[in-house]
Symmetry: C2
Subunit: 340 residues, 2 copies
């Protein structure tokens, strides 16, 4: 569509004022008389004038825009984080531009190239599964674009990171199973090459060790991507073990839900004969019966924190900025699947 728009200069001519006066009146600048401001506002409304924010951004060298790179938007966890980011950014006057890497390293690199174009003043990132080097982010860093990583964060790279305490959360979840009397506690874990899933496994082990339980490898299964289907697969094996495990700590809610269903099909009572705990507080955890005990990872709060940290650094005057690691406090939501 072709567009011809009224500019600030048009307004100035119309009112026989200087462009600078218009600009300041629009900004509600203190050094402009109220009458002038009113006149300007009225005329602007009348002519349907709105400031060209591209020109303004260009001149001020500020776009008030942040970029967000997530593996996929339609994963509930990420949509919650983005919701938090948008909420904070909106109130701070920033726009949020989103990109999906779709877990492709190549696409992630492409996106960081686009983000070098100075449109975004900072970027919030959750790394894709393929990402094993961070050179593309280091480059943005060198260009003085502030970065904040969340959830899947780079290891061995100094950077702003928003994380949850996976180790401690898993520790508490496992200890909860111990406290309600479980003796043989199984773990269905995520891919151990991903830091957060490794930490959850470590937390599981630490809780067992603290309470003098052996680490029994026959009770431990690692999935590739914590899918519902994989969870079912491993739960089938667990349910047939003799003796059967009487507690299962799963690294996410999908595998926990499939475990519930598999045990139920074999008529094993939950939570009486086996207690099950998940991780992430997905909507399904409150729907599945029995309702699933799970770790609330507070994704929305992660988003808020990420946006707050990023925008703080964008607006920071100093050149040198400390990187920060913020740990979001999780909570164990005890529901029917582990209520004895």
């Amino acid at each position: 569509m072709k567009k011809k728009r009224i500019t600030l200069v048009d307004l100035a001519k119309e009112l026989e004022l200087a462009a600078s006066t218009i600009s300041r009146a629009l900004d509600n600048h203190p050094g402009i008389s109220i009458e002038t401001k009113e006149k300007v506002l009225k005329k602007a409304e009348e002519l349907g004038f709105t400031r060209n924010s591209i020109a303004s951004s260009f001149k001020k060298n500020k776009t008030l825009t942040i970029g967000v790179i997530v593996p996929r938007i339609d994963i509930h966890f990420h949509s919650l984080v983005i919701s938090g980011i948008e909420e904070f950014a909106y109130k701070a006057g920033y726009n949020v531009t989103i990109f999906q890497s779709r877990d492709s390293l190549e696409r992630e690199k492409e996106i960081t190239k686009i983000l070098q174009n100075k449109m975004s003043e900072g970027v919030i990132i959750c790394l894709g599964t393929e990402t094993n080097s961070y050179e593309h982010f280091e480059k943005l860093n060198r260009m003085k674009v502030p970065l904040v990583f969340y959830d899947r964060v780079p290891t061995g790279m100094e950077a702003n990171k928003i994380v949850i305490n996976d180790f401690e959360s898993a520790f508490k979840a496992t200890e909860h199973l111990i406290e309600i009397g479980c003796k043989r506690i199984s773990h269905i874990g995520g891919n151990q090459s991903t830091g957060i899933f490794k930490a959850r496994f470590e937390g599981y082990k630490a809780a067992l060790t603290k309470h003098d339980f052996p680490i029994d490898e026959s009770l431990i299964y690692f999935t590739k991507d914590l899918s519902y289907e994989e969870g079912a697969l491993f739960a089938e094996k667990l349910v047939d073990l003799v003796p059967r495990p009487d507690g299962v700590f799963c690294s996410n809610d999908y595998t926990a839900v499939s475990a519930i269903q598999v045990f139920q099909k074999k008529l094993v009572k939950i939570p009486e004969e086996v207690a099950i705990v998940g991780f992430s507080n997905y909507p399904i955890s409150k729907i599945i019966e029995p309702h699933l005990t799970t770790v609330n990872d507070r994704a929305f709060e992660m988003g808020l924190a990420a946006a707050k940290l990023l925008i703080g650094q964008i607006e920071e005057e100093e050149e040198i900025i400390q990187t920060e690691i913020i740990t979001i406090k999780t909570e164990l939501l005890i529901r029917e699947s582990s209520s004895r």
Copy 2:
């Protein structure tokens, strides 16, 4: 953070070329020698130069950015639509900026104000529940900002709309229940002031009428927001009816899932004694047992279609553009909850 960046002019000086030559070389313009292009690219890389796309956008009066307004990002349907929008936009070279109205009319209006700033070349919108007038969108329209609505679209306003055929989808879902032998088919519907839920109810009625079934008001319940909790509430009433309904068509999957659970608790067999059909193909529909028959509303495709239509209109040279209404084809996914 303070930033000083290398500009195109710096590059030009460094190479003793004109800025115009650099600009064209960077664009891979045909009228520039290969040697010059290579020199420019090499030097740009060396100095870490990237074009200031704000300046470029400003000069060209194109931002290659589209805005998206959704009630909430963390609703799975919307996150899927956004995913489709991002996918199409990304491939077309556009950025996607997202806003949440949080179903607040006031916030929706604020957002349309922001979008008047010419940052976004077009906007994709799903209306909030409170929205009953469209003046704020008409205003954007008058400013020649192309708009595309999806799902909750304005009634009585000529506009681009991406919708599914709710009437027909509901008709087919209900007819499916009739075909498998249901005689008393209930409906748990959405708020009838929302067009799509009204259309689903109409589709339900039309299917009954076609097959000479009476419309029995005691079998029909309308929820306020199709929540899981409300679904359970009404399912409790249905399960106690004498005679009991032997089929339930629900306007979304949450209410359908709660209906499954309520009937199961009363030991009513699904699908033998009652068949249940939902709407939307939420992830939970494939997890709940029995798996839920539902209408796949193809949200991702809606997003693709919305982005395609919008970007098409942005790039259209002509001033006058026809508004389009695109209907996305749904499909009934028949699963265990209605497989007899």
